[in-house]
């Protein structure tokens, strides 16, 4: 880099960095405080009474919050696994090969990222009626694939475009079976991509609201649906508690995968390829 930065520039960086930190944390603070508040009226800066009532409610059997948490985890895990199983081969085809109609295929796969979910889910709702998929968990998992799969394929095609299939050929000539080649050669080298793509797929499914609302028909109550209901009915304390529970799994997953998310993992940069 060119020379040492002046004190002015360094303090400017520190200041803007601090502003960013405050702004990024800010919206979570009232949510956290509300979950421990018992009546918190204008213009009090902090609640006059603290209470664990909202948390007790959230963890009670009658509220259904914990059931909903497991249901949401199950749906997102299923959508992620399906996205990986379908997305890895598709990403390989798009990343490694050139073929006629490739651009059309890419456009088809990217279309769900561009076209809003609400524009397709109304039609899907009409079709799912005849298959009996409305109001079922399987229907919700299927419809979550629409937004998750394109991200997975996008990441994997980025990974495979920097991938050298010659290693596989070498393993094969040395006598490895196709399965062993996949397990010991291919899989380890695409693993960082699968982790990043899987993380994105999970989070995209985890945050779906309107697709679940319409296809689940109010029977498949995931955490965002529960959260939305409490938020719009003005129960701020319970909203705060459910909100905290809702963001926890994402944070836990992040702690396990953070090192893969840095700029040194090409998979993150591969989003820049629309």
């Amino acid at each position: 880099m060119v020379g040492k930065d002046s004190l002015g520039i360094r303090s400017f960086r520190f200041l803007t960095g601090s502003l960013l930190i405050i702004w990024l944390v800010l919206p979570l603070i009232p949510l956290a405080i509300w979950s421990f508040a018992k009546g918190w009226f204008f213009p009090d800066l902090l609640p006059t009474h603290w209470s664990m009532r909202a948390w007790e409610y959230a963890f009670s059997d009658t509220s259904g919050v914990i059931d909903s948490l497991w249901l949401t985890i199950g749906i997102s895990l299923a959508a992620t696994v399906l996205s990986i199983l379908i997305g890895v081969p598709a990403g390989r085809a798009l990343g490694l090969y050139n073929f006629r109609g490739k651009q059309l295929v890419e456009l088809m796969i990217l279309a769900p990222i561009i076209v809003p979910g609400i524009a397709v889910v109304l039609g899907i709702h009409s079709v799912f009626i005849s298959f009996g998929l409305n109001n079922t968990v399987s229907g919700v998992i299927l419809v979550h694939l629409i937004p998750t799969l394109p991200y997975m394929i996008l990441v994997m095609s980025g990974v495979f475009s920097n991938y050298d299939p010659a290693y596989e050929a070498q393993a094969r000539t040395l006598g490895a079976s196709p399965l062993k080649t996949f397990w010991y050669v291919t899989l380890p080298s695409i693993m960082p991509g699968i982790i990043v793509g899987g993380l994105f797929a999970f989070l995209v499914s985890w945050s779906q609201y309107v697709l679940t609302l319409l296809i689940g028909g109010g029977r498949v109550v995931t955490l965002p649906l529960l959260l939305f209901n409490f938020a719009t009915s003005g129960r701020n304390d319970i909203t705060g508690a459910i909100g905290m529970i809702y963001i926890l799994p994402g944070i836990i997953i992040l702690l396990f995968t953070a090192r893969h998310l840095s700029g040194r993992n090409g998979a993150v940069g591969s989003f820049g390829q629309i």
Binding site: I109, P112, V121, G123, I124, S126, L214, A231, F271
Partner: protein, 285 residues
């Protein structure tokens, strides 16, 4: 097995899922929007649903509002995100924290951010309480309406909160791949800081920045739950309007909802096409 067959087999599952669900859903929506559904005896397609959508004043107001939300959020988020990425390339006190918060923020659903913004900026929210504490306002109604407001300030604030880290992470990854050699060369040849950013770095990070901001535009144009939590009820954002029509007790409004869904799909496709063309021209000059 021939190579073409192999490629085909690798793509089939993905194309089946996207073809059946996404394009199938779009197609059925299209048919229903024309009042065409042979299964229930509707065999004469017509344009009445589109007619009532396009003669409704609320539709145009909703479109303008939704466009304003998507455009403003995308521009503000992109500019701040590039600035933040430039900041995060350098060492400074607190860099690790910003980095961590960027990634943390990626995991937090929009709905949570929307509720957080609601509790911060509503007329009885944290900022209104601070203003009252400092004697700047006497009652809640003195605080400016920043949520449920006609300019969608709260919605835009939420999107900026959530999308700056999204674009920032992608742009930063691109910057780290590119490295600083090109800029160093430019600087040593006498370019100013601004010139080496504008004419060297920006064109290099441009493709990644563009696709990230396209994703943000598409999302902010089509999202439902954020305007549903933070938006005014009239005019509502287009996705909220379409959902309302679809769940109307009057089933006759359903083709109208479908027509609106198709219009939303077309509009987002057209706008993204124009956006890509225009910005490519502007930046690459």
């Amino acid at each position: 097995m021939s190579e073409r067959l192999k490629i085909f087999l690798m793509l089939v599952p993905a194309l089946l899922v996207i073809g059946l669900l996404f394009f199938g859903g779009l197609f059925i929506g299209l048919m229903r929007s024309f009042n065409y559904m042979p299964v229930i005896g509707l065999t004469d397609p017509d344009l009445s649903a589109y007619l009532s959508v396009f003669t409704d004043r609320e539709f145009y107001l909703s479109f303008l509002l939704t466009f304003h939300i998507a455009f403003t959020s995308t521009v503000i988020s992109t500019v701040i995100a590039v600035g933040a990425a430039l900041l995060l390339r350098r060492h400074f006190l607190g860099r690790a924290i910003v980095n961590f918060l960027f990634q943390l923020n990626l995991t937090i659903p929009h709905l949570v951010g929307a509720i957080g913004i609601l509790y911060l900026f509503s007329q009885s929210g944290s900022f209104a309480r601070l203003a009252a504490h400092w004697g700047m306002i006497a009652s809640t109604s003195d605080f400016p309406a920043l949520v449920f407001d006609p300019y969608a300030v709260g919605i835009i604030l939420q999107y900026v909160w959530k999308e700056v880290p999204f674009i920032g992470v992608i742009v930063l990854a691109n910057m780290q791949t590119i490295g600083e050699d090109y800029e160093s060369v430019a600087r040593s040849l006498g370019a100013t800081r601004w010139q080496s950013f504008r004419y060297v770095l920006l064109p290099l990070i441009f493709p990644g920045m563009l696709s990230a901001s396209v994703m943000v535009f598409a999302f902010t144009f089509g999202a439902y739950e954020i305007p549903a939590i933070l938006g005014a009820s009239f005019p509502a954002a287009l996705p909220v309007l379409a959902y309302r029509k679809y769940t109307d007790v009057d089933l006759a409004a359903r083709p109208e909802a479908m027509a609106m869904a198709i219009v939303i799909a077309l509009l987002s496709a057209v706008m993204i096409y124009l956006y890509l063309r225009y910005s490519r021209k502007r930046i690459r000059g």
